[in-house]
Subunit: 108 residues, 2 copies
Amino acid sequence: MDDLTEMLKGTLEGCVLEIIGSEETYGYAITRRLNELGFADVVEGTVYTILLRLERNGLVQVTKRPSGVGPPRKFYALNDAGREELARFWAKWQYLSSRIDRLKEGGR
Amino acid sequence: MDDLTEMLKGTLEGCVLEIIGSEETYGYAITRRLNELGFADVVEGTVYTILLRLERNGLVQVTKRPSGVGPPRKFYALNDAGREELARFWAKWQYLSSRIDRLKEGGR
DNA sequence: CCCGCTACTCAGTGATACTGTGTACTGGTA
DNA sequence: TACCAGTACACAGTATCACTGAGTAGCGGG
């Protein structure tokens, strides 16, 4: 697949929110999960910047726990603001994708 | 609807390509068309920067014609490179939206 | 003892949509 | 005549985001 970078803007953060919302997890695992899901070129650096932004914006609750196989992990869970943001994300995605699909079908 | 700006990155240009591909048209009319289609907050300045980029990247053929109701219009039509780029856009959109929808449905 | 895997941080880059301002042509109207 | 609204385009500057690349560090195996 061609480069999806530009198209991911605004959606990748939502994907990370969705993953965190379904299960408390940490950056390294989120990256693997995204790769599994078909976001093949997403690398750790990208995910960590998103996670730091989510934390700075007060959308997540963070817990540091030892790992056993490496350095300690920072586990992320959505708080109320995070759940609201996630709902807004899906509403926007729904809105956008319906308009695009309509345009694709000849756009009346 | 909330601000779609970030989510439009990478897709708005594709939408403009699609509009041009379906009919030779000009910037002011493209803006109106996008607004009709539900891209309510897209303004002329945004569309013109996209059109100039398409021209610079050699994806369109441009013809200036007098208007009768105002200054002359720059009509845009896709050339072969533009049609290829449009096909790539739809392939990327298809790819991305299928992954996102899968993630939304619980993501297995 | 190094190497690979795990795990996170951060400064800098590039692309994109957007903002605001300016220019300019036309027709209507006060 | 003067002004204004609608049409039509250009362009410099801004913000945001995904990405790059380099660095730090813990753990286990050969």
